[in-house]
C-alpha cells in the first residue's frame, strides 16, 4: 500500500549506492585494462592487447625481488600479529585489571593515529636501533599496524563464545593451558584466521611506513611501485597493481568465508 511512495525512494537509494560503489571502484579497476595494453605508455583506454608487461614483471629481478620481499614481510607480520593480537584479545576481553580500557585503546590506536606520524616515530627510533632497511624493522612496524585487526576479530569471537564451555572443561579436569588448546582456540579459530589474513593484507599493501623503513637494497612491492612511478611511467606498474589487487581481493574473500565458519553454538 505504501509502495506508491516507496518505489521512487527505493530507486533513488539504489542509484546512489551504485554511484558510490562506482566512485570507489573505478580508479582501482581502471588499472586492470591498462595492464593489458600493447603500447609503451600508461594509457586509458588501452591500445591493443598484450601480456608483455606481465612477462616483464615476472622476469625483471627488481619486480620479482620486491614481490618476494613483500610476501616474506607480510607472512612474518601475519604470524607475529596473530600470536600477539590473540593474546592481547584474551587479556583485554577476559582479564580483570585496572586500566584495561586504556590498554585496549592503546592497542587499537594504530587504527586512528595518522600513518605518517607512526612512520616518522618509528623511523627515528629504528634508526637509533639500526634496524631500518631490514626485514626485522619492517616486520615489527607492520605488526604494530596489523595487531588491531587481529584483536578486533579475536575479541568478537571471544565475546560470542559461551564461557560455560571453559568452565565445563575445567570441571572435567582440563587445566588452563589444555582448556585453551582444546576448547577456546578451536572455537575462536575463525576469528584468529580472519585476523591473520587481515594482518597479511595490512602489511602486503602498506606503503607509507615502508617508504621510511626500506632501502634501495631492501624494497617491498608497493615501495618499488612508488619509486618506478616517480621515474618511468611504464605499464608494468599497472600489471603489478593488478596482481596486488588480485591477491588482496582473494585474501579478503577468504577472510570473510573463514569468519562465517564460526561453529554453531
Amino acid at each position: 500500500m505504501t509502495d506508491s511512495w516507496r518505489q521512487p525512494r527505493r530507486l533513488l537509494l539504489v542509484a546512489l549506492g551504485a554511484l558510490t560503489v562506482f566512485f570507489l571502484m573505478a580508479p582501482t579497476l581502471v588499472v586492470v585494462p591498462m595492464s593489458f595494453t600493447a603500447s609503451n605508455a600508461l594509457t586509458f583506454p588501452p591500445e591493443g592487447l598484450s601480456t608483455r608487461w606481465y612477462e616483464k614483471m615476472v622476469t625483471d629481478p627488481q619486480w620479482s625481488t620486491g614481490f618476494l620481499n613483500s610476501a616474506k614481510v607480510a607472512f612474518l607480520t601475519a604470524i607475529l600479529a596473530t600470536v600477539l593480537g590473540t593474546l592481547a584479545a584474551l587479556g583485554t576481553v577476559r582479564g580483570r585489571f585496572p586500566g584495561r580500557g586504556a590498554v585496549n585503546g592503546l592497542i587499537l590506536s594504530p587504527l586512528i593515529v595518522p600513518v605518517i606520524i607512526i612512520a616518522i616515530g618509528m623511523f627515528s627510533v629504528f634508526v637509533r636501533w639500526k634496524i631500518t632497511g631490514s626485514i626485522v624493522g619492517l616486520v615489527l612496524a607492520h605488526t604494530a599496524l596489523a595487531v588491531p585487526f587481529v584483536v578486533v576479530n579475536v575479541a568478537t569471537s571471544l565475546r560470542s563464545m559461551d564461557r560455560n564451555l571453559e568452565q565445563a572443561a575445567q570441571s572435567l579436569g582440563a587445566g588452563p593451558v589444555r582448556t585453551f588448546r582444546r576448547i577456546t582456540l578451536p572455537l575462536i579459530l575463525p576469528g584468529v584466521l580472519a585476523g591473520g589474513l587481515f594482518a597479511f593484507i595490512t602489511s602486503w599493501d602498506e606503503v607509507v611506513v615502508s617508504i621510511f623503513l626500506t632501502s634501495a637494497r631492501f624494497r617491498t612491492l608497493p615501495v618499488e611501485m612508488w619509486e618506478q612511478v616517480r621515474q618511468v611511467v611504464d605499464p608494468t606498474v599497472a600489471a603489478v597493481s593488478t596482481t596486488l589487487l588480485a591477491v588482496t581481493t582473494t585474501l579478503l574473500l577468504l577472510a570473510f568465508v573463514v569468519r562465517r565458519q564460526a561453529p554453531a553454538r
Binding site: D162, N164, L165, Q167, A168, A169, Q170, S171, L172, G173, A174, G175, R178, T179, R182, I183, P186, L187, P263, A264, R265
Partner: protein
C-alpha cells in the same frame, strides 16, 4: 544403602566420611553478601537439592563447590580433603550446566571422552567407557553426532554422561532441566534420579522448582538470603516448616497471623476476637521465647469446610474460623476452594473429588476447621501486636 552393622574402623573410613562438608561458607560481591554462612554435611551417595528463590545464594554456593568462584570465608571439604584453595580442574567434580555446555566442535562421543583424555586413560579404555556411558543414558548410536544435531533432551543426556563417565567424587547440577519443556523435564527428573542412585553418585542439585526438589532429593536445603533456612527431607519441610519463609516456599499454605500466648505446654494464637488452640508438640518445636508475634500454618488439604450452623461437624477441640467461599476451582482429582476470612485474608482448601462430598458454591458462608495436630506454629518476624497496649516486636532483621 544402610551403614548398619559395618564396624567403625579404618576399613570403612571412606564410606563413613562425608562426601562434602561446607563450614561457614561465605561469599560477598562487593559489599553485598551472596552467601552468608552456609554449613552443610552431605553423606556419600546422597542426593541433596539446594532450593530457593533466585538470588538466595544457591547457585553461588554450587559454583564455590565446583571451584569457579572463590569463597570469601569458610572451608569446602570433599571426601575429607580440604578443597578451599584447589582449582576446579583438580577437584574431581562433575558439573552439569543449564545450557548443557557441550563442546560444539566435538561429537557426542568426543565430548564424553574429554574427561577421560584429561586423565590420560588408554585408548581402549576410553572407547569402552564412552560406550558404557552412552548406553547408560540410552543414546547408543548417537556418539557420532554433533551437539547441534541433537535435541535439548538428548544434549542434556550427553552432558550427564560426560559428567559421570570419570566417576567424579561429586556430581553438581545447576538447574539442568530448566530449559526443557514440562513433560520432558518430568521424564528426565526420574531418569537423572535413577541413574544417580544406580551409580551411587553424591549429587548436589540446584533448582528453584520445589516440585522437582521434592521428587528427586533425599534431603533439601532451603536457601533464603544466603543462608540455609531449613535442611531436611521433603516431608519434614512440608509438614514441619521452621519459618514462615519455608512454609510459604514449599507447597501452598494457609497462614493465620496473630499473637502467641503461652498456656501450659501449649498455648493460644490470638487475633482480635479469635483464639486458636496451639498443641504442645507444635509449641515445643517452634521454641518461641515467650509471648510474641507468631503464625499458624495449615496445609490446604488439612482444612475442612463445614456448615457454620452445624456445631457437631467440627470435632471437639478443633480450631475453626469463619469464612466465605469466593471461588471454586475444579481441577479433576481435586476441587480447590479460595475463601475469604473475616479480615480479608484469603485461605485455600483442597478437597478430594470423590462424588459424595458436599460441594459449596461461591458466596456461601462457611466455617473452616482443622485438627490441632495439623497446624504448625512459626514465629512471625514481620508480625504486629494484635491487642491494644502490646509492645511492638523487634524490627525485621
Amino acid at each position: 544403602m544402610t551403614t548398619a552393622g559395618r564396624p567403625i574402623d579404618g576399613s570403612s573410613e571412606r564410606l563413613d566420611r562425608p562426601a562434602l562438608v561446607l563450614r561457614g561458607l561465605e561469599k560477598s560481591f562487593g559489599d553485598v553478601p551472596a552467601v552468608d554462612g552456609v554449613d552443610l554435611e552431605v553423606r556419600q551417595g546422597e542426593f541433596i537439592t539446594l532450593l530457593g528463590p533466585s538470588g538466595s545464594g544457591k547457585t553461588t554456593t554450587l559454583r564455590m563447590i565446583a571451584g569457579f568462584t572463590r569463597q570469601s570465608a569458610g572451608t569446602i571439604e570433599i571426601d575429607g580433603a580440604d578443597m578451599s584453595q584447589v582449582p576446579p580442574y583438580r577437584r574431581d567434580v562433575g558439573m552439569i550446566f543449564q545450557n548443557y555446555a557441550l563442546f560444539p566442535h566435538m561429537t557426542a562421543a568426543e565430548n564424553i571422552a574429554f574427561p577421560l583424555e584429561m586423565r590420560r586413560a588408554s585408548r581402549s579404555e576410553i572407547r569402552r567407557r564412552v560406550a558404557e556411558a552412552l548406553a547408560l543414558v540410552k543414546l547408543e548410536g548417537f556418539g557420532g553426532r554433533y551437539p547441534r544435531q541433537l535435541s535439548g533432551g538428548q544434549q542434556q543426556r550427553i552432558a550427564f554422561a560426560r559428567a559421570v563417565v570419570f566417576h567424579p567424587r561429586l556430581l553438581l547440577m545447576d538447574e539442568p532441566l530448566g530449559a526443557l519443556d514440562k513433560k520432558l523435564r518430568e521424564a528426565l527428573q526420574l531418569e537423572v534420579m535413577h541413574i544417580s542412585r544406580q551409580l551411587g553418585a553424591t549429587v548436589i542439585y540446584v533448582t528453584h522448582d520445589q516440585e522437582e526438589a521434592l521428587v528427586m532429593s533425599d534431603r533439601i536445603a532451603i536457601f533464603n538470603r544466603g543462608r540455609i533456612e531449613q535442611l531436611g527431607r521433603g516431608e519434614d519441610l512440608y509438614d514441619r516448616p521452621v519459618s514462615l519463609f519455608v512454609a510459604d516456599f514449599i507447597g501452598d499454605s494457609n497462614i493465620l497471623r496473630g499473637w502467641f500466648e503461652r498456656d501450659g505446654d501449649g498455648g493460644w494464637l490470638v487475633r482480635d476476637a479469635s483464639r486458636w488452640r496451639v498443641g504442645a508438640a507444635a509449641t515445643a518445636r517452634a521454641a518461641l521465647d515467650g509471648d510474641r508475634a507468631a503464625a499458624l500454618v495449615v496445609r490446604p488439604e488439612r482444612l475442612r469446610i463445614v456448615d457454620p450452623g452445624d456445631a457437631g461437624a467440627a470435632a471437639a477441640g478443633a480450631n475453626t474460623v469463619e469464612a466465605s467461599v469466593r471461588d471454586v476451582l475444579y481441577l479433576g482429582s481435586i476441587r480447590k476452594y479460595e475463601l475469604t476470612l473475616p479480615d480479608e485474608q484469603t485461605a485455600t482448601v483442597r478437597q478430594q473429588v470423590g462424588g459424595n462430598e458436599r460441594v459449596w458454591q461461591p458466596g456461601a458462608r462457611v466455617r473452616l476447621t482443622w485438627a490441632v495436630d495439623d497446624e504448625v506454629l512459626v514465629s512471625d518476624p514481620g508480625g504486629r501486636p494484635s491487642r491494644p497496649g502490646d509492645v511492638p516486636t523487634a524490627p525485621l532483621a
